[in-house]
């Protein structure tokens, strides 16, 4: 079993490589804390400025309700819309709420919004949050809001703060695995090429497939450890529930890990230096993070981009993990993304084995 010899060697090397070993635990931990908390903080305590031109009991109630959600932290009250714009431009507030003088009349009309939310357009994430604010639950008080007035439609079952964390954490497993798995294997072959080990290895009876398999196996275990770490931290720190079965979740993770590792190996066979391998990994990582539906809703993307995203394993994994963890979906319901991911893995491993020739030219 030559691939076990390769796997054993990889583990021995990994154990001595303290930096890499530290990254196996460090990257998930750091990302988890950064993403988990940062996204929470974004939703809570956004500094806001209020321009209340109506100054009626209803408008004051609205301001009080906005403050009470905790999403906005009202730091300024201004007197004109010019002043509001200036505050945003200066970066002192990220959101401005403009309640017009005719607020009382507008809030009873269904064809016009009652008030305006002004967002710093240079920050795309803020715009998303503003959209969240538009659907924010404001307790309906008799006589204060018209039942079907736009902008402040009441949907009490919906909790924007919790929604973000719960959405982000399971998908974060995918992002973390993409980063660590792909980088580890992307440099795996290139490093041996740079150090001259490969010239020796290819004169031995080891086959391309055995070599690739031996390099993948240790990292599959590392990937499963990372999955466990993120799930555990998610449950402890962010109360992220797992509605579906753990077995299904780990199966999805296993296939995704294999897909990502294979993609890393493919990069490794294409790159000539470790630097090139890093750059190529980033070329795959960035679209993965942006287009997979991890941050932005998949449905909102142009059709061409959706097709492109289909070629990224993370897209399918985000689909899978949200299905298992949040919607409690079982294997039968997740058949399509599972099969897509399996096909992707098989194609990439075949490409790697064909691509890696035991020759120097």
């Amino acid at each position: 079993m030559r691939f076990t010899a390769i796997a054993l060697k990889e583990v021995r090397q990994l154990r001595r490589d303290r930096l890499t070993f530290g990254m196996i635990i460090g990257i998930p931990l750091m990302q988890m804390l950064l993403f988990g908390y940062a996204i929470n903080f974004d939703v809570r305590g956004l500094s806001a400025g209020i321009l209340d031109e109506a100054n009626t009991s209803a408008s004051r109630a609205l301001v009080a309700d906005l403050q009470a959600t905790g999403v906005l932290h009202i730091t300024e009250h201004v007197r004109s819309s010019a002043e509001l714009s200036r505050e945003i431009r200066a970066g002192r507030i990220s959101i401005g709420v403009h309640i017009p003088p005719d607020f009382e009349r507008r809030r009873l009309q269904t064809d016009r919004a009652a008030a305006q939310i002004i967002v710093d357009g240079s920050e795309p994430s803020l715009e998303n949050l503003a959209r969240g604010l538009m659907t924010m639950p404001l307790p309906a008080r008799a006589g204060v809001y018209a039942p079907d007035a736009r902008l402040f439609e009441v949907r009490t079952e919906f909790n924007p703060e919790k929604r973000t964390a719960v959405q982000i954490v399971p998908a974060l497993i995918g992002v973390i695995l993409s980063m660590t798995m792909m980088l580890f294997t992307a440099v795996a072959i290139v490093r041996e090429r740079e150090r001259g080990n490969l010239e020796l290895l290819i004169t031995t009876p080891v086959s391309s497939f055995e070599l690739m398999l031996g390099k993948l196996i240790p990292y599959i275990f590392i990937g499963l450890i990372q999955t466990t770490l993120v799930l555990g931290l998610g449950a402890i720190l962010f109360d992220v529930p797992i509605q579906g079965s753990l077995a299904t979740l780990y199966l999805a993770a296993l296939i995704f890990i294999a897909a990502t590792l294979a993609l890393g190996l493919l990069i490794s066979t294409l790159a000539q230096t470790q630097m090139q391998a890093f750059q190529m990994s980033i070329v795959v990582l960035l679209p993965s993070i942006l287009l997979s539906g991890f941050v932005f809703p998949f449905e909102g993307m142009p059709r061409v981009v959706q097709y492109l995203a289909q070629a990224l394993p993370l897209t399918h994994f985000v689909d899978l993990i949200r299905g298992v963890a949040l919607r409690g979906a079982g294997l039968a319901e997740l058949k399509v993304p599972l099969v897509k991911l399996l096909v992707f893995t098989a194609v990439i491993i075949a490409a790697v084995t064909l691509r890696f020739r035991k020759r120097l030219d």
Binding site: R2, A5, E199, P205, L360
Partner: protein
């Protein structure tokens, strides 16, 4: 010396490798008998490494036929893997693994069972004086120790053919001597060894030598036969001022090349010159240089210069 019995272990016909516009190896023919130590001698860039790499299937020849141990290369290169050992120019074992771990890994790759792994590793550690640093990382070894480890790793599976690409370029003279003793032991036990080098003294130890120059095989044979059949008359000159003597002989049509060895000069003359000694003395006297001149037996270095140097001189002059 071992007898030339049976088919050659390696035979190549018209072996050629072209990288872009550069003919790295140009129509090389080789027949290397079993249990021989066969040396490729040539300057850097002469095509030694490229030839070795083509012989073990690492590079595909642009044209030409190669048969190694009865297998056509590169077509059946994979079937050769168990029968050959290869030592790269650069230390290519894993520096972050220990000596034993490296040997253990390579023996597993070559499919040795647990029992044979243990006995071979033990034997080689002792034979190559590596027992004391068995648990030391390979990266911390000295040049000589690394080279012994690399040789041990290359022969774990007892290959019939050993390919060594400039194996002694990073070791001191004592270690080089020891290393060559090891090679003779292996050859005596029946291993055919192909070694590339740019050291004359190493080439002289080989049973057979091929001199490569810019991809072409310019001379081939045993070191002795090469020295005997050099296509030049070798004249040794001992002069009080060797630099002046050298300049006196430069640019003379009959003198093909001059090389200085300490206080002496070796001049290679066209073999058609009837009285070489008299001719050289005449040339020196014209510059008022009094020197002792005599015809000597060619060294391998003279052979090398005769085989490669003339071309270089001509190119430089043109």
């Amino acid at each position: 010396m071992s007898a030339d019995t049976g088919d050659p272990v390696i035979s190549a016909r018209g072996l050629t490798k072209v990288f872009g516009k550069n003919r790295a190896v140009d129509h090389v023919d080789l027949d290397i008998p079993a249990a021989h130590i066969y040396g490729f001698l040539g300057p850097n860039g002469s095509g030694k490494s490229t030839t070795l790499r083509m012989l073990c299937g690492l590079l595909r020849p642009t044209s030409g036929e190669v048969t190694v141990l009865g297998h056509s290369v590169p077509r059946d290169a994979e079937r050769l893997r168990m029968k050959i050992g290869y030592m790269t120019q650069r230390f290519s074992l894993w520096e972050d693994l220990t000596v034993v771990e490296n040997l253990d890994f390579m023996s597993r790759i070559f499919g040795l069972d647990a029992e044979r792994r243990r006995t071979r590793i033990d034997a080689l550690l002792r034979q190559y004086r590596l027992t004391e640093m068995a648990n030391q990382r390979a990266g911390t070894l000295s040049g000589g120790q690394k080279q012994r480890l690399a040789l041990a790793a290359a022969i774990l599976h007892e290959p019939e053919l050993l390919l060594l690409d400039e194996p002694t370029s990073a070791v001191d003279p004592q270690n080089r001597r020891d290393f060559w003793e090891s090679l003779f032991d292996l050859a005596a036990a029946g291993t055919t060894i192909l070694v590339s080098t740019h050291y004359m003294d190493e080439a002289e130890r080989c049973h057979g030598v091929a001199i490569l120059d810019r991809g072409r095989l310019v001379a081939e044979g045993s070191p002795r036969s090469l020295m005997d059949s050099i296509g030049a008359t070798v004249v040794e000159i001992e002069a009080p001022e060797p630099r002046a003597a050298r300049h006196a002989l430069d640019d003379q049509a009959v003198v093909k090349s001059v090389a200085q060895l300490g206080t002496r000069l070796h001049a290679l003359l066209d073999p058609s010159v009837p009285d070489a000694v008299a001719r050289v003395q005449e040339l020196l006297r014209a510059k008022n240089i009094d020197a002792r001149v005599e015809i000597v037996r060619a060294s391998l270095e003279d052979v090398f210069v005769a085989a490669t140097g003339f071309n270089v001189d001509r190119t430089a002059a043109a």
